[in-house]
């Protein structure tokens, strides 16, 4: 099954490879008759130029490398989907890798991207979400970003050395907590997240600040980090319901935790939102299909992905870009939150 090359076409058409190249790329005028002869041959033999060979000298691959931490998380796939739509406009395709948040895999994939000479890179999750960063990991990433145009989504590295696009999680959390306060809630808990992740500390800071500004007390026993999963939400709500003094509203680190929390609350005979208001974060598609529909903060995931690619495209064109693009979150008022009483 030998692949047919430009030489084969040239020989069959009785022209040089240069001429064939010209008709393929339209880089120079070619006599009508010979052009037609060549085009017919290309059609007939289903000839497709070898992108490797071309990339080798053009130094462009048309590929954007993407590193995501979890392909089954709807938030990331939504970002991916937006990015894909935008990348289409410049004909770029994705080399996709799934790091599972494993730093070693991230390193491995960074190498692969370099070897394959991707035109640009998008990085999500993992090392760029560490609360205190990690010198070595950051250095490695920065070095890659020096060779390959790179955009970080919802994260950063030491010294904010790499271009990034991010939702304003702090503002988003403030909006959500304020919404609860405006509804008369004075006893509000915070559920989920891992303390060593920047997301968690950002949201928690916003949470505390908003309570304080409203003159409300921050009760440490109502601040329960753990992780980001539905199961985590279930367990945490369990803990909350065992407390002597219970909150009337709960802010969750994300929609998964909110779903878990609601499930457990419902299992315990509570009515949501009548007995307790619960709000999430992310606005995954499921959030507005769940029963009850979940009040949450939209990260505009699709837009986040699109924007990241737009910024990356500029970067690849050597245009000037803002080091930091902020996407404003939106509060999505739905059915899992209600006025107190």
């Amino acid at each position: 099954m030998k692949q047919i090359t430009i030489y084969d076409i040239a020989r069959l058409a009785n022209v040089s490879v240069a001429t064939v190249s010209r008709v393929i790329n339209g880089t120079a005028p070619v006599k009508h008759s010979t052009r037609e002869r060549i085009e017919a041959l290309i059609q007939q033999y289903q000839f497709q130029p070898n992108a490797m060979a071309r990339s080798l000298l053009k130094k462009e691959t048309g590929i954007i490398g993407i590193i995501v931490p979890d392909l089954t998380n709807p938030f990331y796939t939504e970002v991916l989907s937006g990015a894909e739509q935008e990348a289409l406009t410049t004909g770029h395709t994705f080399l996709l890798t799934n790091s599972v948040g494993d730093y070693q895999k991230e390193s491995q994939y960074l190498s692969i991207m370099r070897e394959k000479r991707v035109d640009g890179m998008i990085f999500l999750g993992g090392r760029i979400n560490l609360r205190n960063g990690n010198e070595t990991l950051d250095q490695e990433l920065i070095q890659h970003a020096n060779t390959i145009p790179t955009v970080l989504i919802n994260g950063t590295v030491k010294g904010n050395a790499i271009t990034r696009v991010a939702t304003d999680e702090y503002a988003g959390t403030c909006m959500a907590v304020q919404h609860l306060i405006d509804n008369g809630h004075e006893h509000i808990a915070f559920l989920g997240g891992e303390m060593h992740m920047s997301t968690t500390s950002n949201k928690l800071r916003a949470f505390k600040k908003t309570l304080k500004d409203a003159g409300l007390q921050v009760r440490e026993e109502w601040i329960l980090p753990d992780s980001f999963s539905i199961d985590s939400g279930r367990g945490l709500m369990h803990k909350l319901l065992e407390l002597r003094k219970k909150p009337t509203a709960v802010m969750c680190i994300n929609d998964f935790v909110a779903i878990g929390a609601i499930k457990t609350a419902v299992d315990h005979g509570l009515f949501i939102p009548d007995d307790m208001s619960i709000v999430g974060f992310d606005d995954i598609p499921l959030a507005h299909h769940f029963i009850p529909e979940i009040t949450t903060v939209s990260q505009e995931a699709n837009e986040l992905g699109r924007t990241a690619i737009r910024v990356l495209q500029k970067l690849m064109n050597r245009e000037k870009v803002k080091k930091h693009t902020v996407i404003e979150p939106k509060l999505m008022l739905r059915k899992s939150s209600a006025p107190f009483r």
Copy 2:
């Protein structure tokens, strides 16, 4: 930012490029001292061989092309995730494209895969799920599959000309419907799906057959195709509830439709499963987190992805493979179905 090449390293180490190539690939013994010298240089300059150049003569890219119809659909990402894990074992990376079920995009992406000389291809959705196929589209795909090892997931082309891996949707549907019958339901509806898709006709055939074998009547007004979305499920349940004679159980084309159906039913004051049993298909992660947890047929999406890659790996190694690998579905008994009355 000129990329450093093997020539640069060779010059700096006072050896020939061949020697450098040898230490990089370990293809021949190199004197300890020179090896160390070279390795140090590689480290120092962060040299990474250009995969394009290598691929050009090895005729291997280490890339598997994937065409999916919808990146935001949890079923597909679950398949993708399984595939990714398996591909990792042979160091393959994914060139991912999102066809949105658009045949023209599929064609475009097929071309890209050819140009980029991917080592293999996985194809999901779109043209391979057409009930009656499409001569031209099939021909195109078959032609590509002749050059590039290709595996179809849950679909086929004319004459089953391409290797495929698929869930037994027919058997899965039979299991689910039989489960309803075993629970005393005699009035069962079928919701969702588009009639021109093979999935729909396969499941519908199974549905009718199972009812008939149980001596039950198939009522055409209870067979309501439409599409595969949550909104579709909502609309269809709406229609169902307007009927004079209502079913006591519903088989849905997939979990999305089931979710929509449940939502509408609940909105209308029905209790699920007490007033009506509803079962889905796919077992997306959400299915067992929904309230109520949804009885459904697991497609073993992760396993489906893994298997497809395993088959593809054999294909790429020119090993002999079965033209058709079947994945057996599993019935997941949960809370959205219950005995009649």
